[in-house]
């Protein structure tokens, strides 16, 4: 018998604090698998967000730092400029990246910083109890949009992948999802491509991953995966938006 699936070396044995069925856990695992398979563990430096991913430094078996809310791309910029042969990534939620951290992400991309951003879009502020995010869908009920998000009052959800793809400094930008096994595998491929982009010094790379928050969506984990396919993908289409040759 040969082992076909086991815990990657780039994650410690420590249990995740995430809610049952939350896809933050799947995404952690596939990032770690990519780092293992590309033999980068000794060279990897990750930057954690403020949000449910705030404790990611407890789980990844590589160098990790914690940034102030939304500022991970600024911290990663400094690290990468000093340590150009290392692999530097940020792990950021949609509240972190598209709200308080909007300036940092747009300018990191515009400058063509040679870093990789893993962007977890779950259309909500998960950690703080389910408030509306810039990515919250029209009509979506959150604690701060109790009657559903209304564009007259709060505008429209931001499509970050499309927005950053317009920046000349962006070298690889795509959006994927982890709502079923085929898409988990596609996400893994996209992460590898983003890492490759950085290692070839081509510029800024981001993989936006549609993720679930069963707890704050008020759904069980399987219903939450179904919501990704039914409601999120039609507004946040999957695919590559920028591939610099």
């Amino acid at each position: 018998m040969k082992v076909v699936a086991k815990r990657p070396e780039s994650l410690y044995y420590k249990k995740f604090h995430y809610c049952p069925g939350c896809t933050h856990g799947i995404i952690h695992r596939i990032i770690a698998e990519c780092i293992d398979e590309m033999e980068l563990r000794e060279k990897t430096i990750g930057v954690c967000p403020v949000g449910c991913g705030v404790l990611a430094y407890e789980y990844f078996n590589c160098d990790m730092l914690e940034a102030a809310h939304g500022r991970a791309p600024a911290i990663a910029t400094g690290i990468k400029r000093m340590l150009q042969d290392n692999f530097v990534f940020t792990y950021q939620g949609d509240g972190d990246l598209a709200s308080i951290g909007m300036a940092e992400i747009v300018h990191a991309s515009a400058r063509g910083e040679n870093i990789t951003v893993i962007f977890i879009n779950n259309t909500i502020y998960g950690m703080t109890g389910g408030q509306m995010a810039p990515t919250t869908l029209i009509g979506q009920v959150t604690t701060t949009s109790p009657y559903g998000r209304r564009p007259e009052l709060t505008g429209y959800p931001i499509r970050m992948a499309e927005l950053l793809a317009t920046n000349e400094g962006s070298a690889y930008i795509c959006r994927t999802s982890v709502h079923n096994p085929a898409h988990v595998l596609k996400t893994k491929k996209a992460i590898k491509k983003a890492i490759q982009t950085q290692m070839e010094k081509k510029g800024f790379s981001m993989v936006e991953i549609l993720s679930t928050c069963p707890t704050n969506w008020g759904m069980n984990p399987i219903e939450a995966l179904e919501r990704v396919e039914r409601e999120m993908i039609p507004y946040f289409p999957l695919g590559e938006f920028k591939v610099k040759e």
Binding site: M1, V3, V4, A5, L11, G21, N180, P181, N220, I222
Partner: protein, 71 residues
């Protein structure tokens, strides 16, 4: 003989049931007779003969509970 073998680190399981839902062979279920230290009925193999070792359960598990071996 089953072609695959799955091993559960049950202390980590949160009974989200994603592995059960996505196992193409229907080999998995919750172990209603046990409760782990996290307070959940952990997932387990209910029909080991059906397992092909495809690895789908481990691919969808958010909590690194499952190890899979294949012939």
């Amino acid at each position: 003989m089953a072609k695959g073998r799955v091993r559960f680190y049950s202390d980590r399981c949160k009974a989200c049931e994603l592995c059960i839902k996505f196992c193409p062979k229907g080999a998995l279920g919750l172990d209603k007779k046990n409760i782990n230290a996290l307070g959940y009925h952990p997932a387990t193999v209910v029909d080991p003969e059906r397992c092909t070792g495809c690895g789908t359960c481990a691919l969808m598990c958010p909590d690194l509970v499952i190890e899979v071996e294949r012939e």
